[in-house]
């Protein structure tokens, strides 16, 4: 397995051709950064705060799974030049396309809600009311896309993602015992404690999500990358996946060394900021709020757009921001609707936020296996992929990953539906204000 993966990765090391590599850089790393959304930050924080290093080992299998899944998407995008929803529609017909996209919309309402919840939580740390921060952010995000300059702002927010480095520095400053950390990373531990299992599933669920596959493949198809430069695209994807989980690693380490060591319990978003105190001292809360706000804004500006693109491509409706509302009403309708719904639900007094987020997680969980199986069937279709189908080794690894992920999501969904099954205390999947 390792040898196989090594050979697979080593076909082209990008550095001798640096300029070309820089031209191809993008979709993989951007997708990975959007993956570190407020929901992700919260989940990793909770994992470190509650279980210390107990869940650290999961990062390696999760990274491998993420790389395997994302790589297949990237390859399909490069070879076919089409998005995932296009391919599902053309190969499996309108029913599969329509109902999987419907599930994507429902799941993403919850995801967008979680992004705005992150923005609201960040605002509250900084003393800004959610009634101010959420509508302003929603308006900003909406206006960005309509004005069409979201790509340049996307870059600004990617730079803003450098705030995650704070976790790296903070984790290093806490002076963890590296022997212990390495052992925790490499040697799996297991517990049948309900909280533990539930947290494990949440880590896997927040890292590998359905929308990422649609988004990654569409952006790669959109960039018109070609099979000849695929080795570079693959590096983009691999580095992105590793980067996401390096950040996750340091969030867990920082939280384990501070919150977990001091025996604190995270009850609100502000409590999670304690993990940044070794670096920032009194400024920890501000830094955390900025990180959460940036992550929320980046994800909230990409998710609704990615959803609208996926749906309109799959159903053959006019897409694109260059068309204007009259020509592409469905596109703008879905885009605007997602933002309004996501931001509006946060502001609605007495809105059942927890059930909404649970249910969207459930739909996410149901959708993921469907998307993965459709993907595997597509990527192995010779009519479509020609010589670029999976090799037998890769197929074995991919199917094993899919089976494991399906087992995880089935458990995750069941535990969401019947919290008593696994969860004793209940695990929040995103930061909730108040």
């Amino acid at each position: 397995m390792r040898g196989c993966l090594g050979r697979w990765l080593s076909r082209a090391w990008p550095w001798p051709r640096l300029p070309l590599w820089l031209a191809v850089i993008g979709p993989g790393i951007i997708t990975a950064n959007v993956d570190n959304d407020p929901g992700g930050i919260t989940t990793y924080s909770l994992a470190g705060a509650r279980f210390g290093y107990g869940l650290l080992w999961t990062l390696i299998p999760v990274t491998v799974a993420l790389i395997l899944v994302q790589e297949m998407c990237a390859r399909m995008g490069v070879v076919t030049g089409k998005g995932l929803s296009d391919l599902i529609r053309e190969r499996f017909g309108v029913r599969w396309a329509f109902y999987s996209l419907l599930a994507l919309v429902i799941a993403n309402v919850g995801n967008v809600l979680a992004e705005f919840a992150g923005i609201a939580a960040a605002g509250q740390i900084a003393g800004v009311s959610k009634h101010l921060s959420v509508p302003l952010s929603a308006l900003f995000v909406w206006w960005l896309a309509i004005k069409g300059s979201y790509r340049s702002v996307e870059r600004v927010m990617l730079v803003g993602s450098a705030v995650y480095l704070a976790y790296v520095v903070s984790g290093l400053l806490t002076g963890p015992h590296w022997g212990t950390v390495t052992r925790a990373l490499v040697v799996p531990t297991w517990s049948f404690q309900a909280d533990y299992l539930s947290m494990l599933l949440a880590v896997a669920g927040t890292t590998i999500t359905p929308w990422m596959q649609y988004y990654l493949q569409s952006s790669i198809a959109d960039k018109k990358l070609k099979p000849e430069t695929y080795a570079l695209t693959r590096w983009d994807v691999v580095i992105g996946c590793v980067l996401t989980n390096v950040v996750a690693f340091f969030i867990i380490v920082a939280c384990a060394e501070t919150i977990h060591r001091q025996g604190l319990v995270i009850e609100s978003a502000a409590d999670a900021a304690v993990a940044l105190e070794p670096l920032a001292g009194d400024w920890a809360a501000g830094l955390f709020a900025f990180g959460l706000f940036n992550a929320g804004l980046l994800s909230a500006s990409i998710l609704p757009l990615a959803t609208a693109y996926a749906i309109c491509e799959g159903l053959g409706w006019e897409t694109g921001l260059n068309h204007g509302f009259r020509e592409a009403p469905a596109f703008y309708g879905i885009y605007t609707g997602l933002i309004v719904l996501g931001a509006g639900l946060i502001l609605l007094p007495g809105a059942p936020l927890l059930p909404i987020m649970y249910w969207s997680q459930v739909v996410n969980g149901i959708l993921l296996p469907v998307v993965l199986i459709l993907m595997l069937r597509l990527v192995n279709n010779r009519r479509l992929m020609g010589a670029h189908v999976n090799g037998p080794g890769l197929n074995l690894a991919a199917w094993a990953t899919v089976v494991l992920l399906i087992a995880c999501t089935v458990l995750f969904v069941l535990s969401s539906l019947w919290p008593g099954l696994l969860v004793a205390g209940g695990v929040a999947h995103g930061p909730l204000p108040e």
Partner: protein, 411 residues
């Protein structure tokens, strides 16, 4: 009688004695002239696919198909022919009359005696609802609310299918018809194609056609197309492009690629493009072209016409001749109409009109648009401090840039 493919898909196929042969998997069609005729049925029986030619089919109705033949069987299905479900349903097509790319929601068949003709495709909401099985409740709701059911039907003769796979399938797109599209529309269609189809299309286009397509494409698409062309073709296509269009193209490329492209140009053109690139995109310098008609003001009409015929200039700026004095300073402009009406011995200066407005290289777009609104010139000359002519901005270019929405989605 009109039939929908969605009503036939999965229908029971019965033999002469009413026994079930299997379910309808697909229809095989063959293009004859402007129409596509069904040649046979592909029937699924368990895991096996059987083929029945249309000659043995007795009746075709929604949900049930009767054969004249007896018993199970059927020959092997012809793999290389066009299968409606496999190759056309859910695929993208080019709507030739609207010049847009849409998706096939349903296929409409015309049941004629002894024939089953593909009439066209349904690309609208109703086709989608029918496929999803929601047509009946949706129709009820629509009539309840008093909405009119709108059918969006594209006749077979007006569509060009884009193959689903990257490999050219049996439904190869008819490239000849696409070539009649305006480059802007063609760029939109190419956007929806796989790279192999794009390559074969680019292969059949002439150099000037490809140059125009390149000019209308998104930066990512331009980079991909340049890669696919190969150096010799790139040189020929660039030769067919105006200097300002090359500058636009180069400006969007990554620096290393831009340098490589500039190196393939002849030195004088490379210098021209390099000079244009030194201005910001939304200034007169960035907008202008240096390919224009410039003649001495003392030349005669006959001499001017002779020169025009000897070196025809295929640029949008070629409707005017700019006159300069001995020092290269701009003195006036002669329109083609004035040139045509003037006697052969007349000096160009005597039939010239004064230039209403000139701009400098760094003049912003807003100012140029303002001048165009005021004087309605075809072109606005760009001069240096000594009033020497550097280039001209075509009014169309300036207005187009000013009207475009500022997206990086396409630009």
């Amino acid at each position: 009688m009109a039939l929908y493919l969605s009503d036939l898909q999965g229908a029971w196929v019965l033999d002469r004695s009413g026994r079930r042969v299997g379910r309808l998997e697909d229809l095989v069609v063959r293009q004859v002239g402007q129409t596509a005729d069904t040649t046979g049925l592909v029937v699924r029986h368990g895991r096996r696919l059987g083929y029945w030619p249309l000659a043995v089919v007795a009746t075709v109705a929604p949900g049930v198909i009767r054969l004249q033949a007896a018993g199970p069987g059927g020959g092997p299905p012809p793999d290389g022919e066009v299968w409606l479900v496999r190759d056309l349903l859910d695929a993208q097509i080019v709507d030739m009359t609207g010049a847009r790319v849409v998706r096939v929601n349903d296929v409409v068949l015309d049941d004629q005696p002894e024939r089953l003709v593909v009439a066209g495709v349904d690309v609208g909401l109703w086709g989608l609802l029918r496929r999803l099985g929601w047509a009946a409740p949706a129709r009820w709701l629509a009539s309840f609310l008093g909405w009119r059911a709108m059918e969006t039907f594209i006749p077979w003769a007006d569509l060009a299918p884009i193959p689903k796979g990257p490999l050219p399938g049996p439904l190869a797109i008819s490239l000849d018809r696409l070539k009649q599209f305006h480059p802007y529309d063609l760029a939109e269609v190419v956007e929806a194609m796989g790279w192999q189809q794009r390559q074969s299309l680019c292969h059949t286009l002439s150099d000037p056609q490809l140059a125009k397509l390149l000019h209308e494409s998104r930066p990512a698409m331009q980079a991909a197309m340049l890669d696919e062309m190969g150096p010799a073709r790139v040189a020929r296509v660039l030769a067919a492009m105006a200097a300002d269009d090359i500058a636009d193209l180069v400006a969007d490329l990554p620096p290393a690629r831009a340098q490589a492209l500039l190196a393939t140009l002849p030195p004088d053109r490379a210098g021209m493009v390099g000079h244009l690139l030194s201005y910001a995109a939304d200034t007169a310098g960035g907008l202008m072209t240096t390919e224009m008609l410039v003649m001495p003001q003392t030349a005669t009409v006959t001499a001017a016409v002779r020169r025009l015929r000897a070196q025809p200039l295929a640029a949008e700026t070629a409707n005017e001749i700019h006159l300069v004095d001995r020092e290269g300073r701009l003195t006036g402009v002669v329109s083609m109409r004035h040139l045509l009406l003037a006697p052969g011995h007349a000096r160009l200066a005597s039939i010239a009109s004064p230039v209403p407005a000139t701009v400098y290289g760094h003049t912003p777009l807003a100012r140029i648009v303002d001048l165009i609104g005021r004087y309605r010139p075809q072109t606005v000359p760009v001069v240096d401090g000594g009033r020497r002519l550097l280039g001209v901005v075509s009014s169309t270019d300036a207005l187009t840039l000013a009207c475009l929405p500022k997206t990086d989605d396409r630009g």
